[in-house]
Symmetry: C2
């Protein structure tokens, strides 16, 4: 049985404040919850699912999960999706693992990314290109909000995402090359990144803030052939990563 207070509790997790207080967030839908069960079963706190889902999916792997069967109307109430999709999982927020003092790999730094969908596609793109660490400014949109979860697809829990004061972060990483996306930098076609590096992407409207740009060892730019004034931040990140890994 699901109670009114359970429903309120799940609904409250659409808000960052409650997610952080409770240390949990929501992953929804057949595909994403299916992957979650396969890949990160230990993170699942509770499943709310329709009888149909339980009948179809229930098998050995299911053992040990707390499952509450709900009807479609209740599903509609607790879901953040336009088209609720059978199952809602309450999931433990991952621990933020600090970057070691000497980086061994590439780290993507996001300075004030505001759009949750952009953040989600950036996470998914990092997962495609094997970039396992994202460091976000404290005012970057929260990675565990419903829209980001949805657009990151299954990649969210595979990436270590840390929220930290960027000035403190850069100050602790002296000596590591910092490539900052800007409109007046060196073409990404001519840059060879060797060894560990930091790649910085800025806010959708204003780019990288002045204080953060001061840490750049090289500004990098996507050459423009046409007329668009700028690129979507998720798109720019993907193009930069794709060209740097080549």
């Amino acid at each position: 049985m699901i109670t009114k207070s359970d429903i309120k509790y799940i609904q409250s997790l659409a808000h960052k404040k409650f997610r952080e207080e409770e240390g949990v967030f929501i992953i929804e839908g057949i595909k994403m919850v299916g992957e979650l069960i396969q890949e990160f079963p230990e993170t699942i706190v509770h499943l709310y699912a329709t009888q149909h889902w339980v009948d179809k999916i229930c098998h050995q792997e299911f053992a040990g999960f707390h499952v509450t069967v709900i009807d479609e109307i209740t599903l509609g109430k607790i879901s953040q999706l336009k088209t609720p999709n059978q199952v809602v999982a309450v999931v433990k927020l991952p621990k933020q693992i600090p970057q070691s003092k000497t980086l061994s790999k590439w780290v993507l730094v996001l300075d004030q990314i505001q759009d949750p969908g952009n953040l989600g596609t950036i996470i998914r793109t990092c997962d495609w290109f094997g970039i396992e660490n994202i460091v976000c400014s404290l005012d970057t949109v929260d990675a565990y909000n419903p829209k980001t979860v949805q657009s990151a697809k299954g990649s969210l829990l595979r990436i270590n995402i840390q929220y930290i004061d960027l000035i403190a972060f850069f100050s602790s990483k002296k000596g590591v090359p910092v490539y900052a996306a800007a409109l007046d930098g060196t073409s990404i076609h001519t840059i060879d990144v060797e060894g560990p590096a930091i790649i910085v992407i800025g806010n959708e409207a204003n780019g990288i803030s002045k204080e953060i740009l001061a840490f750049a060892t090289q500004k990098i730019t996507i050459p423009k052939i046409g007329k668009a004034e700028s690129l979507n931040a998720g798109i720019a990140t993907a193009i930069i990563l794709s060209n740097l890994v080549r």
Copy 2:
């Protein structure tokens, strides 16, 4: 004065059926309407704007436009934005210019793109990379819906977007190389595209349909290093275009 029937008319333009019947669509917000006035004034049928916008923006260039001053409440009623932004323009739908039999440039073909935001970022990305022609399958989401307009930013009217039966399109373009995005193709890092070509991107969930894939002269793939199952369709398009123009 704006009438109730004006308000209904503008609201109806959120739907493709009415846009096509009326031959117009909506562009909103200070920045985008500002660019519209600069770049494509001849396409503007009518402007609905707050007194604030008229006082601030009104100047010589304004001569000849039909402007109706509205209050914030009315703006809220006719706007499709979460945060309505001063001005709503009713704009003529651009003419779809058919591709010539022998292409002179690259054409991007979209097969069943469903997400309006994806289509918008694809249009904006094409405008960045100087690709002026997009050909969409008839079941691709409409480019003039409010979400696509918003995510395409000022690029929408700079790109010639044609909706056409793709089988008819490909049948009329024999001899032109067709590069189709797939998961099992040649790496985009090793491909050199010379001369006119067609690049095909498929549906977000299912990729390119079988009948269309049959027209491919080469399947192309973005090499994967990490674990993500797939990339967002807008992201994949951007990465492919970026690598092919290099």
